[in-house]
């Protein structure tokens, strides 16, 4: 356990705005309510100043999020670029709706960026039902494809509800086929809008079993992390010193999304001052009391103050808070549209997107022959041995797609089904991409894939602690 907060924050999460275009029932930031209420967020100039303050404090990681940050696309892209050009590792969280080719081109210019896109399940029916807006699954899948076309670091984040759980394995297989590098699987956190729901519990074992079955049948090419028990960690958060801070759309500074306590306002008090307050005050008895109440009841949503459902409780204020922060249990929410699968066949769409994606060969020298062909990449001398089929696919993938490789294979092997050739071409392209022998045709010169994507707000760094069932 970390006992002391560092003298300066290591990371920062910036919630640029409250509003979102989706209507997720389980939204942990309760954005649909804020969208209806029209809750005001900080102005562009405020966010620019705060970003400079954070850079002066030498943060090394940042998450740009919302609401839906691409509803303020120009601002989000400007901040992401500014942070990244100073060497900060940046994650952009988005539902993918607004991530078109133009935005994807701009994101491709950001060094070290990781874009996290929410896709909950293997079809519009299940994803759009949770997200409350028809078309959201389709738009999110196209967004991920645009990231893949350009070699942009990414992670697909899936919120697993009881409706999604039976489809999780199918979902993982589909995302793997799309070419996704990394997935994070997370059950519903009972904060924000989700605190209004009941019956969202997903048994941990079933979730982990589905992931394990996927790994056994598909291998470990796609990294999968199961983030289980975020909210279960709340009771121990008052014993773990914070290393990062979170700035809400109104400027309130929190330690993370799991606690509803504010240490002042980043704009009026300054980020450095708020961090000092965090360092001095993270063991405030009001936090321990709050965490203790959750530990006793086992339910965050029954606490007097629920993160994101209630207004933040300002620990720095000397004013009497009266009855405490308002808990927005019965505030108006936007209407949700009914979701259905529609004309898109999800596996067919995913397959056609993956087949159409173009690659370019990295400069390499090829020697040997027959069953032992060796390919030496010129940039670093890495060598792989490939058989004839893999070599043919590698040679085909030069400013060409897997669909082109399939055409070439089909000519040479007329007796083999196109479906099998397509599966083999897609799997081989993914492995060549992982090993750096091809790169997406849309990736900039000198493109390097991100080794790890991290998010400072997540409690993954706390070993050996997990949620109770």
């Amino acid at each position: 356990m970390r006992e002391h907060a560092p003298s300066r924050p290591v990371g920062a999460k910036l919630e640029l705005l409250y509003a979102c275009n989706l209507r997720c029932t389980f939204c942990y930031t309760d954005s649909p309510r804020h969208t209806v209420a029209g809750t005001a967020s900080l102005a562009d100039g405020d966010w620019r100043r705060l970003t400079e303050e954070l850079l002066e404090l030498d943060i090394v990681e940042a998450v740009v999020t919302g609401g839906e940050p691409l509803m303020r696309a120009d601002l989000a892209l400007e901040l992401v670029q500014r942070l990244a050009e100073e060497g900060v590792g940046v994650t952009l969280n988005t539902n993918g709706w607004f991530l078109d080719d133009e935005i994807a081109d701009r994101l491709a210019e950001v060094p070290g960026l990781s874009v996290h896109v929410s896709i909950d399940g293997p079809s519009p029916r299940v994803h759009d039902a949770g997200r409350g807006v028809p078309g959201s699954w389709h738009r999110a899948v196209l967004a991920v494809d645009r990231l893949l076309q350009r070699g942009i670091g990414h992670q697909v984040v899936s919120v697993v509800t009881p409706e999604v759980l039976p489809l999780l394995e199918q979902h993982l297989a589909l995302m793997s086929r799309l070419g996704v590098d990394s997935m994070r699987i997370t059950p519903v956190a009972e904060i924000g809008a989700a605190a209004r729901l009941r019956g969202q519990h997903v048994p941990r074992k079933k979730l982990l079993d589905a992931i394990e079955r996927h790994r056994r049948s598909h291998g470990e090419r796609m990294r999968i992390s199961a983030q289980y028990g975020n909210v279960g960690l709340v009771p121990v958060r008052d014993r773990v010193a914070p290393a990062a801070l979170l700035i809400r759309p109104n400027g309130s500074v929190l330690t993370d999304s799991q606690q509803p306590f504010s240490y002042g306002n980043a704009v009026s008090d300054g980020v450095a001052e708020c961090w000092e307050r965090i360092r001095r005050g993270w063991r405030d008895p009001r936090i321990s009391e709050w965490a203790g109440s959750i530990q006793r009841s086992g339910k965050v949503r029954d606490a007097a103050v629920v993160p994101y459902l209630s207004d933040e409780l300002d620990l720095s204020s000397t004013e009497d808070g009266g009855d405490g922060p308002v808990k927005h249990l019965d505030d108006p929410l936007p209407r949700r549209a009914e979701a259905k699968d529609g004309p898109v066949d999800p596996p067919e769409l995913i397959r056609s997107l993956a087949l159409a994606r173009a690659y370019r060969r990295e400069p390499a020298r090829i020697g040997g022959g027959e069953r032992s062909t060796y390919v030496r990449r010129l940039s670093d001398g890495r060598i792989v041995r490939v058989n004839q089929t893999a070599l043919e696919i590698l040679e085909a993938l030069d400013d060409a797609s897997c669909a082109d490789a399939v055409e070439r294979l089909a000519e040479r092997y007329p007796g083999v089904s196109r479906e099998r050739l397509a599966d083999d071409a897609l799997d081989t392209a993914a492995r060549l991409l992982d090993r750096g022998f091809v790169r997406p045709a849309g990736a900039p010169e000198g493109h390097r894939r991100l080794a790890v994507a991290t998010t400072p707000d997540l409690p993954d760094a706390i070993p050996g602690v997990d949620s109770a069932e």
Partner: protein, 40 residues
């Protein structure tokens, strides 16, 4: 079609890729399966 009139169809094998070396180890030779002849 080959010279003796038989079909010239090539048997299809599932694609295979395996590591044969690393950045700091010329493992093709280290593994003893070099496609090259070592020069004494």
């Amino acid at each position: 079609m080959s010279a003796d009139g038989s079909t010239d169809e090539v048997a299809y094998e599932a694609p295979e890729i395996e590591e044969a070396g690393g950045e700091d180890a010329p493992a093709v030779t280290a593994a003893g399966d070099s496609p090259y002849q070592e020069v004494p």
